[in-house]
Amino acid sequence: MSAIIAIIRRDLLLAMRRKSEVLTALFFFIIVVSLFPLGIGPESALLRKIAPGVIWVAALLATMLGLARLFAPDHADGTLEQMVLSPTPLGLLVTGKIVAHWITTGLPLVLLAPVLGIQFDLDTGALGILVLALLLGTPLLSLIGAIGAALTLGVRGGGVLLSLLVLPLYVPALIFGAGAVESHISGLGAGGHLSLLAALLALAVFFAPWATTAALRIALE
């Protein structure tokens, strides 16, 4: 257990030392979301309707930005080899890295989303559901993304390939995440969407570290 905490602490420390990377993804998220009203027009009824989808799509893209660097630096400087050789199972260490990735890229999005929601004229209830959905959905994005990051490690054109592999797998998260807010707004209640999102998260927590570990071992062979 201490090795996982050490990995999380190390990755957070590294993120602190390279703040620009974290901030770039965050500002990317803000800019993408802010561009939509400029492209579509300032009608608040329309904006309220597209807000959940826009914020979610921007969150998917912002998460993608950091993914390519999830394992690449560790691969380049040999840390990944040492992680494989650690007495702690690789799956746990990988889980630690995914948690750190979520804290540095997913959590800031969750915290920022209400501010952007206000730009789109969402009411307080909808903002709450948006935060809740992102809170359940962004770890899912990190978990699924880690599989793609491990598969494309050290591969030609890895970054573009990564989006090609991962974005289709993000579809259910997008549907249920954005759907939760939409159905709350339309008065249907977001419970169903949120519990499905939670179920997907549980499934991913179980499978994604395993698949990521297998992919990393293949990349190192």
């Binding site: 030392r17 040999g78 050789l85 007495p87 062979e221």
Partner: protein
């Protein structure tokens, strides 16, 4: 005691070596020699369980290493070409984190002592990015000194080291062997250490 029998390694479509046997006992060390591309690094990676051999088997204390798994990894220390040193972290942080990854707690006093021993006094709080290549390797040497492992597998440990650091590393390996440790290393220079054997591939 580490033994390997009938090892062979295939890279792409090329067979690097085949039918390789080796044995290293307590207090002994093995010097792996060969031309560039002969498969020295591949052999070391197989011995470190980083990649499986195409054929053959590696045993530690008589048991296959795949069966021992983490017990073997705990007893073994592998240093590759890249030292697994994070540029953004300080030598002290690197050392502490490497220890935690290896599954033991390293108190700050011991870590500092090791860094001082390898001439990194006053640089323990400087990001590794600002150190020279040789100093970076010295951080690794400090790691060798603090990690209790019976078997060292070192890939080109003398690269980028100055005369003084080479002597330090030789001393460190000698100490390790005298205490009943084992070492397998690749190097282009000859090393005047006792109980050594040469394996040419």
């Amino acid at each position: 005691m580490l033994t390997a029998t009938g090892l062979s390694c295939v890279r792409g479509e090329r067979r690097l070596f085949a039918g390789l046997d080796l044995a290293v006992g307590p207090g002994e060390w093995l010097h792996v020699q060969g031309e560039n591309g002969a498969g020295k690094t591949s052999l070391l990676r197989i011995l470190a369980t980083l990649s499986p051999p195409a054929e053959g088997e590696v045993r530690w204390q008589g048991e296959p290493v795949e069966v021992l798994a983490e017990d073997y990894r705990r007893a073994m220390l592998f240093l590759g070409h890249h030292g697994a040193v994070k540029e953004e972290l300080t030598p002290l942080e690197n050392l502490t984190l490497a220890a935690q990854l290896d599954g033991f707690e390293l108190d700050e006093a011991t870590a500092l002592q090791a860094l001082v021993r390898f001439g990194l006094r006053g640089r323990e709080d400087l990001a590794v990015r600002f150190l020279s290549a040789g100093q970076k390797r010295r951080v690794l040497l400090a790691r060798l000194a603090v990690r209790k492992a019976a078997l060292w597998i070192l890939d080109e440990p003398f690269t980028a080291l100055d005369v003084k650091a080479v002597a330090m590393l030789s001393g460190l390996i000698e100490e390790h062997l005298a205490a009943g440790g084992m070492a397998i290393l690749t190097s282009h220079q000859s090393m005047p250490l006792p109980n050594g054997r040469v394996l040419k591939i």
